[in-house]
Each structure stands twice: as C-alpha cells, then as structure tokens.
Symmetry: D2
Subunit: 378 residues, 4 copies
C-alpha cells in the first residue's frame, strides 16, 4: 500500500476549475492519493466523474452524511484522512463543521464560512479536536511571499511604519452596467455570497496577506465601500483605512470595477530600514528597497532565500513555475493524438523537431570548426 495520505474531495467535479487546481496541487509533492468523495450532488454524475479521473467508484458517496458514515465504517488505516471542500460558499460551513466534529482533517476553500458567527462556531469545534484545518488563501503559497514574510520576521526592514495592499480587478464591470445581469450574478446576491461582494471575495485576500507577511494584527479599520446602482447595493469597490499600532497605519484598496485590470494584487510593506514589494501577476519577483542602496530583486530558488521559501520552490532559478503548465499542455496534445482526436500539429513537438534539432547542433559545431562558414541545413 502506498504511504500517501488518503484524500477525499467534496465538490469540484466536472469542468470545475478549482477541482483541477486542487487535484494538480495534490500531485505535486507525491503526498496525496485521491480515494473518494462526492464530486457532485447527483451520485451518478459523481461516479462517472470518478471513472473519468481514474479512481474507483467504491468510495463515491451521495452526500456528506453518506461520506462520513461510510468512511467511519472503514478501519482507520484505510479511512480517508483529509477532505477538501470545494463546494459553493454556503456549504463550506456545514460541511467543515460535520467533518471536524467527526475527526477528519479539512482543507477548505475560501471563504471559510458565510458569517463571522459561523466562523467562531467552527473555531470552537476545531479547538476541541486535534484535526488539521487548512484554508486555501493560495497566494501565501508563493515562494516570494514566504520570503517576504521571513525577511520581515528577521527584521530586515525594521519596525513597520506603513502597509499598503491593492487588489484590483475589472471583471464585474461588464456585468454591473446591465440591470438583468447584475441581479442574476451569484457573487452579487447576499444570500449566496454573504454580506459583501468585493471585500468578501478579494478584499479579504489582501487583508489576510497583510497580516501574513507582517506577522501583526490589524487593530482597527475605517471603510468606504461603493456600488454603482442602487438596485444592487453589494459593494464592488472599496478602500479601507488600517491601523496596526499607534503610528503604524496603512490602507487596503480593492475593486472589481477597475476596468481592464485582471488580478492586480500587490502588497507593499515599509519599515524603518527598508521596504518590500510583491505583485501577484509577476509572482517570481520580490523587490527590496533599502535606504541608499541599489534596488534588490529576489527570485525563487536561490540560496539567499529562506528555507521556508526554498521548500516551496520546485524548479531551478529562471524557470517560471508555470513551466508545469507548459508541459501539461504538451501532454494534453499527445493524449489527443493517442486517442485519435483532432489536434493541432503545434500541440506537441515530435520526430521532425528532433531530427532538425540534432542536425542544427551538428551543423553549428561544423560551421564553427570550419572557420565560421555558411552551411546549409537539409
């Protein structure tokens, strides 16, 4: 039997993007084995999806209660150890509650709950058990975010005197100006997404990031939120003034109507000795600004980084981590070819590329050795 962690998943079936992200993430360090779950409210679809992704249908359950009953009936050595909750937001709380009560470890998508009150209930249950609870504020997993945190912890910027976070998107813009659309989008419905749209969806990422990298708590806030049409008053933009200490201030800005912005999430922390800045759209660069010295730009994988940062780096310097994706695309193309599906010849390099490559190498060496002369390729 594998020594991998036995892993279950609730939600995330079909084409769910978040389902793919979690499955790929679970593969990366060879630590998890997906053995069951409930991907879909419909048990048949759930089983079909299990088959599609290559796992047995034996431990596919119709709902969370069936899941808990079924797994608890198994010997502990076979039982699923940790469950990822990838369902719609309003199900995070009841599912996490039941799983923690019955002794499962949990990895929960953000937001943890619909309300602060629910969050406190979950905390109480969690404190009684010795289970692990992970919340996927994914951005803290970037090597350079970890490095930023460690440098601040180690005093490299000195006492903090200013914090600044921005999370600007424009995706709601085309929706908000159409009355029908804005009242039919779940993110803009309080019953489905909670009390807040912009702060609940992205402002909270910026908030968590500021507390993560500084290691300090934000003590008080003053918010100014915005909506554009009175028939839907969910916030889609806002600025929050922040106080971390008497003279430690900051500001958090979030918007979903910053037209044309994609996922422009930035964080800057300025201390008595230096500043540190990071941008999510270019996550491999950490800028270190020290008074009177050249700007320094740190990148992942170098030995000057902290062990926390290096532990999260899988590739040598200069390879954007996205290389996994490039390779994934090539595998996808080969899969299409094997299955006899239509594919574009550009989806994967093949024999011809190999031939030409070897010819190039040999002819390049030959041209050089013969005194830098022109040589034709076949």
């Amino acid at each position: 039997m594998s020594n991998k962690i036995r892993w279950g998943v609730l939600g995330g079936g079909g084409d769910s993007l978040i389902g793919i992200v979690h499955r790929v993430a679970a593969t990366m360090f060879d630590a998890y084995q997906l053995v069951g779950g409930s991907f879909n409210p419909n048990i048949e679809e759930s089983k079909a999806f299990a088959t599609q992704i290559g796992i047995s249908t034996d431990r596919i359950y119709k709902d969370i209660e069936a899941f808990i009953t079924g797994e608890l009936a198994l010997p502990e050595a076979e039982r699923i150890q940790v469950v990822s909750i990838l369902t719609p937001n309003f199900l995070h709380f009841p599912m996490a509650k039941r799983l923690l009560e019955t002794g499962f470890h949990v990895i929960c998508e953000k937001p943890m709950t619909m309300t602060y009150e629910e969050a406190l209930i979950l905390q109480t249950i969690h404190q009684k058990n010795e289970t692990i609870f992970g919340l996927t504020h994914t951005y803290t997993g970037y090597p350079m975010v970890r490095q930023m945190k460690e440098m601040i912890t180690n005093g490299e910027i000195g006492e903090i005197q200013k914090v600044d976070a921005q999370y600007y998107q424009g995706w709601i813009n085309p929706i908000i100006h159409d009355k029908e659309q804005r009242n039919a989008t779940w993110r803009l419905m309080p019953e489905k997404s909670g009390i807040s749209c912009c702060m609940g969806d992205i402002g909270v990422h910026a908030y968590q990031m500021l507390e993560f990298v500084t290691g300090q708590k934000i003590k008080s806030i003053l918010a100014d939120l915005n909506h554009l049409y009175d028939d839907n008053q969910m916030d889609i933009d806002g600025t929050v003034l922040l106080r971390l200490g008497e003279h430690q201030k900051g500001v958090l800005r979030a918007s979903q109507i910053a037209t044309g912005e994609e996922n422009n999430f930035t964080v800057a922390i300025y201390g008595k000795k230096a500043g540190l800045k990071w941008e999510q759209e270019n996550p491999n660069y950490l800028t270190f600004l020290e008074d009177g010295k050249p700007i320094r730009v740190l990148k992942p994988g170098h030995s000057y980084n902290s062990s926390l940062s290096l532990d999260g780096t899988k590739l040598p310097p200069g390879h954007p981590e996205g290389i996994f994706d490039a390779m994934g695309n090539i595998y996808k193309g080969v899969a299409k070819a094997i299955r006899g599906e239509d594919f574009h010849p550009a989806e994967f390099p093949g024999m011809e590329d190999g031939i030409r490559g070897m010819q190039f190498i040999e002819k390049a060496v030959e041209s050089h050795k013969e005194g830098n002369v022109w040589i034709s390729l076949l």
Copy 2:
C-alpha cells in the same frame, strides 16, 4: 475502468525534477493514468518509488526489455499505450528505438538522440509505424507562444524579414573557471552530452522555437562558438547567423556564461507589417508591435486569443499559471501537518485566518454603513 490513457515511465525516479514535472503535467487534464514502468536501474528502488507515488508494483520492470516483454504479454486493452523516456540523454535513442519498433507511443525528453544519424534512424522506424512521438520542447506549450505562432500563420505581421532568438544562462560560469569542476561536469563531456554543450542544451531550444513560431525552415547557418579554457573545448557560448530566405535573415545567441542570467530565453520575429516578442521568464505577456499603433500586450485566457492558445490555458486572465504551484505548496504543508512532521506555521493558512477574514468582511461593511467610522477588530 478509467477511460484514461495507460501511461508508463522510464527513468524519473527518486527526487528527479523532470520526473515530477512530467507526472504533474500528466495530471493536469485528467488524461493519463500511470500504471507502470522502470524508474530506476535498480528494480528494488524502482518498486519502492512506485509505492511511494501510490501505484502498484505489479508492472514495475527491471529494464526496458522486461518492460516491452511484460506489456506485450498483456491484452491490448490493458497494455500501456504511451511511454515517457526521462532517462539520461544517451539512453533516449536506444529506448525510443525499441519502443517505436514494438508499437508503443513515445513521449521523449530532449535531446531526442546523441547524433543526427541516430535521429534519422529513429525517423525511419517511426515512419513505418503509426505511433505517436512527442518530444518535450516544453516552451512551445505556453499559451502565448502558441498565440504568437497563430498570429504569424494568420499573416498578422506580414512576410517575415528578421528573426532573433536569445537563450542566455549563467549557470556554467561558476563551474567553468575551476579546472576540476569543468572536467567533472557531465554536460561538458562529449561522451555523455554529445558534440555540443551550449548549442545542444539550449541553442537547440531557440532553434526549434524559431522554426515553430515562424512555420518556416532555417536554410543555412554560420556559427561562431566559444570556450574559455583549452582543456575543455565544449562550446559554452555562441552566436549563429541564420538564413531563412534570400533576404530573410536572423541571429540566434546562446550562452551559459552570461553571468547572472537565469533562463533568459527570448524570441522576436519582425515582419513587413508588425513585430512579435516573447520572453520565457515572463511567459504570460506577448508583445505585438505594429507600425504607428500603440504597443499591444496580449495575455492568456482572453477571447481575442486563438483557439490553440485558449486550449492551453487553464485559468482566468490575470492568474499566472504558477498558481498551481502556490496551491501545491499549501497542500504540501497540510500533508506535513497530517503526517505529524515538522512544519512552519506559514506553510498553510488555517482556522485563525478564516476567523479573522470573516471578521474583517463584516466589520468593513459595518464601518462603511455607519458612515465611515473606525471600528476595532478583536
């Protein structure tokens, strides 16, 4: 039974980085199921590795011949369909040769062979069979490289008049100046890495990329290579002049002694109407330069991209594809916690983050509603 493709792997065991990259890539589109292979020259280590990554040891073979014999003995519906070759370079040719001869599809790491002659032999065998052969020139898998190719194909830059590729690294620099090291590094030994170091390792990527994006063949070359010490004359730097047509010229530059460079691979193609530029270290940006118009920067996932590009994009605009890696790191941290291993509290966000996040959202809305007043956080 899963409808995934039955996949085998030769090499890539233990901590092999390329092994991880291929396994993660194979996961991304739920298309492959790893069922067997030979990860290691030592069968016991190979089996231990199989267990570690959660697959059965039944179809772990001691070598390629055992692999072929064993798999051919199985019914076709169970037999491994495609094999990835991740072994040292000198084994690529003999392994690919045997697999193609016996009817397997192959995904082969670059370089395909040690010599051009071997490459031609492989081609002959491949042409006789109806097998799929994929060569992992990974960079062609990037969505914006695919978009670049499609735009050129569609005439958006007009007839090509200049091509330019650079692949600058500095990694050999600390090795080359130490006599002992430079004569003990496999990449600098002809018997292990072939006739060329710099051109064979990275120049060929630049060459393949130029032919890939332009859709044209390079017709002749003039090379000037360089080495720094006469006791090791493998090229570690070089420039190659290129001719694609009578008045279509270009240049390819590659170096492993461009001190301080990480993986600075760039490609620029200039046509009669416009130019296109791409950089591997910032792979989500494609720059389009059209005479007399603002510079345009294309990014993945937008509907203005070609279907070839969109097919290789898994995330909405603005998420660097590396988000998989950030999530992977969080899963890694949770795994350590579950297994009772030491872990840094920053490795994954948890309950406290959820509590504080929900509090933040509610208090932000409250501060706003009460007229932009300060509210303390607990």
Copy 3:
C-alpha cells in the same frame, strides 16, 4: 531685437536646482530671453550670478520692490513681461501679489501660497488684471499625461467610476528617526512649510493631477494622516478618501516614509469602458486597459496621440526625453576641457571614437561583401 519674451527671475541663484530647471525649460522652445531679476537677497551675489550665467547686470535688482520700480520705469517694449518666482515658499504669496498688482505675468513655483486664505486673495487680484499666471505643477507637462487627459475628455474610458493616485517617497525616513534632524528640517516646520508636510508637498500634486486628467472636481474628502514621533506632528504620510460624485469614489495615498521609494507617483483612472494608468518614474508609457482587448501602451510622438500631447513632444518616438540631459553632460565635459579643468576622458567622445567608428562601418561592409569573413580592426 529678438522677438523672444522678456523674462525675469526672482530667486533660483547659485546652485539652486530649481533655478537650473527653469532656465533650461525656458530655453527649450526658444521663446524666452532672460533679461534681469533678483537671484539672491545679496545684490552683489545676485550680480555675480548674472555674470556667471551670461546676462547683463544692468537689470539685476536688490529686491522685488526695486525690481518693480526699475522695470516699470522702462518703456513697455523693453520691460520684463513675465517673472518666475523661485524663492522659498513663504515668499511666493507676497511676491506674486505685488507682481500681479503691478501688471506682470507670473510663473510661480508650487505651493502658490502658505494658506488657502492667501490663495483666495491672489485670485481676487488676478481676476482684476489681464495677466497670465502659471503654476509649475510640472508633471502635467508630460506628453503622456496630456494624452491621458485628452483620452478621458474624448470619452475613451467612458464615465469615470474610480480614481486612484499614489505619491510615495522615502526621503524623510532617514531624517524622521533622528530627533535633532527632524526638528531642524524646514519641511517639517509649520512656520516655513505651512500646515502640512506630506500633503502640502506631494499630496497636492496627486490631487491636482487627478483633477487635471479627469476634468472633474473632487467634491469631498476624508483624511487619515500620520506622524511617527509626537515631538513633531507634521504629517509625513496619509491616505485621503475621495468623492467626485455619488458613486464616483477614489483614494489618494501619499507618503514620505515609504522607505526606499524615490518619487513613485502613479495615477490610475477607471471608467465604464476602460482604464488608464501612468507612472512618473517611467513617464513615456501610458497604459490603456479596455475590457476584453489586449493591453495597449501608448508612447510619445506617435501620430495616434492628441495634438496637445504632440505639441509637448520634441523628439522622435523611442528617445526618452532625457536625451537632452545626456547631451548636456557631453557639453559639460567639453566645457571642462576647453577651460583647462580636470575632466574624465569618458566625459565626451572624441577623435578616437570618430576614427574607430568610421573604420568599423567600412570593415563591416567589407566583411559582408567578401562573404562574411573575419576582418581585423586596427
């Protein structure tokens, strides 16, 4: 007689940086002729400076009253037409007041006055006369800022829904943490720099820029300022929430303790159709973000720019405007050489560079014509 505008200057003598900037600016379009003024409180130093910069000492005056009396005594066709006020801040108001009262055009450094009340007095005087009053909020002179304004005016981003300005510097940081220094710096003394340090010095630039590019007035503000030590409570950091209309909000952030920042002044305006962004440290780039289209980057000098922008561009595309400065440095080096002063041989290229350049050109053509062969240079 020249048809240039007769120009006088108050202040800006000696090594004053702002003096140099104004004199160079006045040269650029051949429109001004410096004929007199009062550069220094000490008349002898003032005259010596006039001689140094090559103008007659005839119309150098001991103070503003002497200036006004002397100039008014001259025939109108000889009289100074416009006066630049480059003195310390507290003199701006009294000098501008006297000049406007006596019929001179004025170019005044920022801030216009020490208080809002003084500003209103000046306005009253100005409205009575038909004089020109220019205030050097210099950043509005950049071609791409002008282009941004024009695009907004022309409706290219649609109705404005969010404005955002940042002006982050770190220069006060090394001063503020030293008690002696922070209480000896004029910028931190209310009697010399007015009621505010950070908002008065740089926040007001950001404010003026927002109103400049949007063409709208900011209707109300909510400010949160910061100081670090209670023995000097001048603001050195702050965030100001902004309202332009009922649902048009924004935020202005300014800091002089953003450690390591130089002059990081940015402005972003998001409208119903698109967004526009500009950064002062890279002033030749204007980013245009339109929903669902590639990012567009506009640069100075292209015909796609507005006439307002093109009127402020002096160089062809691709030459950063700083080329004037590079050329200025070369002239400086030649001047040292002519005067027999010490100079570094790198201060200006000379004969040897010309020789080698001509040789290079001829040998490059020769190498090419002879079939791409190596040719030695002498």
Copy 4:
C-alpha cells in the same frame, strides 16, 4: 563680461531638432554663450533665425570661410572658442578640417566623416593642434552608462567573457517597401550617407558603446548585412560577430526593419564575476547581475554611484531626467498665453490650481484632526 565659453554653431537653424537639442544641452550647466555662427546656407535666413533665438546678428556669417575669417579678426578674448557642427553628414569633414586647422575647438555631430580615410586625415590635423574635439555619441552621456563603465573599470564584473549589443529600430520599414520612397530617402543614398545605412547610422553607436563601457578594443569582426530589394542595396539590417580577445567574443545586432521598434538600444556585458545590462529606452536603470545574489538595480543620483556618474546627474533620485522637458512644455504654454496665441487650457496649471491645492491641503489636515470625517471642498 560673462565667464561663459563663447560658442558658435554651424547648421541647426530653423526647426532642426538637433539644433534644439544642442542649444538646450549647452544651457544646462550655464557654461556656454551662443555668440554667432552660420545656421543656414542663406545668410538672410540665418540672421532671421539669430533674431528669433535672441542673439545678435553681428556675428552671423554666410559660410564657414566667412566665419573663420571674421572670428580670427577679433581679439582672442572675444573670439568664438568652440564650434558645433550640425550640418548634413557630408559637410562634417570639410568643416571640422578647416576649424581644427585654424585653431577652433570643435563639437561634431556623428558621423565624424563620410569615410575612414577622411577620419584619419582629421586625426592627423587634430594631433598637431591643441584643440578639443568632441563627437556627440550622446548615449555615453547618460549617468547610468557612465556608471556601467566605471563598474567595469573597477573590476566589479571581473574579466569580460561576453559582450552583446542590440540597436533595433523599425523606422525604415514603411519606407523600404515602397520603391519610390526607398530611392528618395537620403539615408539610403550612398552619396549622402556614406557606404552604409544601418551600420553607419546606428550600428556604429552600438560599436562605440561597447568599446566605451568595456574600455577594450574590438579586434576583429565578421559581418552579415541585409537589404530587402535589390534596387537599393544599402544595408538596413545586420549582425556583426565580434572578437575582443582569444576567448572574449560577442555580437552586435542592428536593424532598421525591426518593425515597430522605436529606439531599442541595449548593451549587456558579462564578466567572470557578474553581468551588467542597460537599455536606452529606460536609461535610468542599470541592472547588475552577480552570481548567487539578488539582482541589483542602480539608479542615478545615489551616493553609491561613481563620481563620473554623479557629475552627470542634475536631479534627485526618482526624477526621470525628462523632467526638464515637462517643465519646458509648461513654459511653452505660458509663452503662448503671453503672446496672445491660441493655447489649450491644459498647457499650464494656473491660479485655479493654486486655489484648489491650498484648499485641499487645509481640508485634508482638518478632516484628519476632526477624527477622519468627510469634509466638502468648495
């Protein structure tokens, strides 16, 4: 009498861009006084231009011979000391020759001559006299280029092992594809621009820059040039292989058909210890790549720069040198207003900006002091 250098100019009259650049540059350090010259082949136009730019017509000459005769007739203390040659290329040599022969210092636009032979003649004359000869390879005047040179001189990158320069423009592209235009453009006529177009115009800048920053001579070259149409065979693109030493190689690339490129001039030097990179379009950034350390980015004006670099910096850190230009534009607008010409209200900030600015500052402080409350602006 001023202690400025008495300066004459040949050429550069009317709207000549190069004329403006030289006049502004000469102003920057208050070292030159323009006293005469010959701006135009037509003496009347030359005098009108003198009046326009505010200098006396007394020492405006009909041609270079009249200039020399006239100036030599004056007492040495009044005589023009240095002459800038801004005429068409073919006049550089005869003018420089006559001026050097007769004892004037010379500042000459690039290219120095039409041929290498002429260059050698000039050198011979120059060596006989004790005159100063400056050649405006302007890019060497940038503070960060000077810093690059100094760091290499000081051994900060160690022995050089690779040099790389690129100068890519696209401006000839729209000309070259039109038969009439390509045969009517002076840059493409050998009789007007010499033996080479691309190498002569921009390749030589890259060449001079490489020798400037490295302090080494390029010993041999191998060139491959390109043209697109056989009816005009002037090179408009080319690559030149370079050798500085036995194992010190490099490459220089220049193009005027790199469609869409503006003035993309870059230089990178890699040594045994580190690399240095600079780009002309972003001239305030110098990138320093040292093995195993964070990337460092140096900017002008900081005390970590060499004195050679600091001597060429006129502004505090963070102000792009182009600030002169922004200020120049504001002066231009004020000049239009004073002269009663049409102007756009956005051409210069004025009274209203001053009023609103003072109001903003006072209200920001008030909002803060009253406990962060909203305050309306008038």
